[in-house]
Amino acid sequence: MDEQDGTFTNVIRRWLDEENIALSQRSRLQLQIHLIESGGPEVVPGCIVPVNEEGFCAMNIVAKGQTPITPVFCYGPFTDSEITLLTGAPIQNGLLRAQDVLPIARHNLEILIANPGRRRRERIT
């Protein structure tokens, strides 16, 4: 599930556009989302990285010669069987900067909890 902003733009798709992420990398991210939907987070070992104790995590989508993409997500927040992509995190000098975007992730999560209808299950390719 992807959080949407006030203009109903998918925040994950917007982030991918801003980062100029190639379709092949989006395709890899979409694959991981499909696999998690089918078998849960345990079927994608090494893909999910915990970010902090609050429960925020990041997906680490890497491919040789491609810009790594790392959407930040949380489990829930409405049911135990869902995850919600909240924002994207940059990678600089090979380091995941998920901590830098945590305020955005928290903010988006608060908005989402107050407005559950702002969330949609949408493709990101």
Partner: protein, 245 residues
């Protein structure tokens, strides 16, 4: 999941996108299946089995890793008691594979647990002291509460066999019958075992179908009856019994 089919039908029109997706799936399948098949075994133990480092197994279990070698996968297959299959596939077959991608569908049975080969899955007895060979006769396995391919200390196996024998004596008990016999046991069981004592006390014959047991190892025997040559009467009143109707 028509939604998945519709999305992939559209996305896969782009060649880069479809190969990125398919190759990502291949990497994810390998990583997830190695982790699933490893189960409770540590990465270090698996690494020792295939002659690599723990960090190498850790890399292979990462869905983002794509530099695996067929030779390494071949070694892993052997360590898991499985065969390695490599085949070229159509893109359309991805859809059901994605839909069914979960731990249960990634699990495979080792050769020793493969029901197709159950009767033949007998290994040579272990030479290591205190261990016994895997046993193959499904009846024996069931009777003793064991699984094919598992190893047990010999003393534990004898204890289980004797507990089972006592149960059988009790189930066959008929008043007024004297005699004692053990079928198919040779070399290991002594007359002072609890089963014989129980049989003696009950004044009945003892018929224990634990088949051929030689030098601490149970061997396969497709027939529940043992050959006369394998019978070792322990009592001159030996009288095999038929289970009462």
């Amino acid at each position: 999941m028509n939604e998945l089919r519709d999305q992939l039908r559209e996305d896969f029109q782009n060649e880069d996108a479809r190969y990125a997706y398919a190759e990502g799936f291949l990497n994810a399948s390998i990583a997830a299946q190695i982790k699933t098949l490893r189960g409770e075994m540590s990465q270090q133990d698996l690494a020792d089995k295939v002659g690599t480092k723990q960090s190498g197994i850790s890399r292979l279990e990462n869905v983002g890793y794509s530099a695996w070698k067929v030779e390494t996968l071949r070694k892993l297959a052997r360590a898991f008691g499985l065969r390695l299959r490599i085949s070229f596939e159509e893109f359309g077959t991805l859809i059901p594979e994605i839909e069914n991608f979960r731990k249960g569908t990634l699990q495979r049975r080792r050769f020793q647990d493969d029901p197709v080969f159950e009767e033949q899955a007998v290994k040579e007895p272990e030479t290591e002291e205190g261990a016994v060979a895997p046993i193959a006769h499904s009846g024996i396995l069931k009777g003793l509460g064991l699984r094919a391919g598992e190893y047990f200390p010999e003393s534990d196996l004898i204890r289980r066999a004797m507990e089972r024998a006592v149960e059988r004596v009790q189930s066959y008990a008929q008043p007024g019958i004297a005699g004692l016999g053990l079928q198919g046991i040779s070399g290991v069981v002594k007359p002072d075992i609890p089963a014989l004592e129980a049989a003696d006390e009950a004044k009945i014959a003892l018929v224990v179908n634990i088949d051929l047991w030689r030098q601490g190892a149970l061997e396969s025997n497709p027939s529940p009856k043992t050959s006369p040559a394998a019978t070792r009467p322990l009592n001159k009143h030996y009288t095999p019994l038929q289970k009462p109707a």
